[in-house]
């Protein structure tokens, strides 16, 4: 396995976005994963509409919050044309979303990996399928400027969805490379570094991969 890997180096990760005051982190992380999964498959890297997921994923609460798992479930359901039309007739989901852009997902996996040493399984999934959608305790991230986050957050207190794009094990403290959605002026050019191997901030509690 490589000691350092970052999907950004393969040019398959879109730019850091800024969710502003919208509580739509759940949509930003999921859409980021779909963008990368398509680019990894050889499609052009392009920005998909986070706004449409926020508006249309009816099992979530738009800018008032949501669950990545609900968003993935919804994505999975609206990938066939018949489903899209059915939902449209019910007035739940506008038909413009996936039908126009041609983007769909084949499926996803979602697991909690709380047991020790299973972060290696996360690295395997990252290398195999692409960036990972995870949910973390980000209370202390309000003040983060840089360096490797190793303390001041908990597992089992998930409140913020982000996207893992890579890892770095070359130094004495291995860390995950985590894309946030608070603009590029936050953290390390919009990214956070989170220590690997001990479920820091609950990074291994809720992990999802997307298949396209």
């Amino acid at each position: 396995w490589p000691l350092r890997f970052d999907w950004r180096d393969k040019h398959v990760v879109t730019q850091v976005r800024n969710q502003q005051t919208c509580g739509g982190c759940w949509a930003f992380s999921v859409v980021g994963a779909v963008e990368s999964a398509y680019a990894i498959k050889g499609k052009p890297l392009e920005d998909l509409s986070v706004q449409q997921v926020i508006d249309c994923s009816y099992t979530n609460y738009g800018c008032n919050g949501g669950s990545t798992l609900n968003a993935l479930n919804w994505l999975n359901k609206v990938t066939s044309l018949s489903n899209i039309l059915l939902k449209h007739q019910n007035g739940l989901v506008p038909v413009f979303f996936w039908s126009h852009s041609g983007f769909s997902i084949k499926g996803y996996s979602a697991y909690g990996l709380q047991v020790n040493n299973q972060e290696d399984e996360m690295a395997k999934a990252l290398l195999t399928f692409g960036p990972l959608v995870v949910i973390v305790d980000a209370v202390s991230w309000q003040d983060y400027l840089g360096g490797i986050i190793q303390h001041h957050c908990s597992s089992g207190e998930a409140n913020h969805a982000v996207l893992i794009t890579g890892f770095d094990k070359t130094g004495s403290t291995p860390y995950w490379i985590v894309r946030n959605s608070w603009g590029s002026s936050w953290g390390v050019d919009g990214y956070a570094h989170v220590k690997m191997g001990s479920n820091v901030c609950g990074i291994a509690d809720s992990v999802s991969s997307i298949f396209v």
Binding site: G23, G66, G171, S206
Partner: protein, 76 residues
């Protein structure tokens, strides 16, 4: 996002400075440890920050088992 007085923001900022001092003081000798300081959120109280930005709802994720075999495609 809502009307906040300069006094309110100043109070949040002062609390942020104290918090930064505390967070940076706990593990000073640790290798590559995170640094905490002033950024775009320093004018918010933690409860305001949480109410605006930390809106991921909890879901029940199945526990991963090593017995679950993933199909791994051939990749270089």
């Amino acid at each position: 996002t809502w009307p906040r007085s300069r006094e309110h923001e100043a109070a949040a900022f002062r609390e942020s400075l104290n918090r930064h001092r505390y967070l940076n003081s706990l593990f000073p000798g640790e290798n590559s440890t995170a640094l905490y300081g002033i950024n775009q959120f320093s004018y918010l109280f933690p409860e305001e920050f949480k109410a605006i930005y930390l809106r991921s709802k909890p879901s029940k994720f199945p526990r991963y088992s090593a017995e679950v075999h993933m199909s791994i495609p051939n990749v270089s």
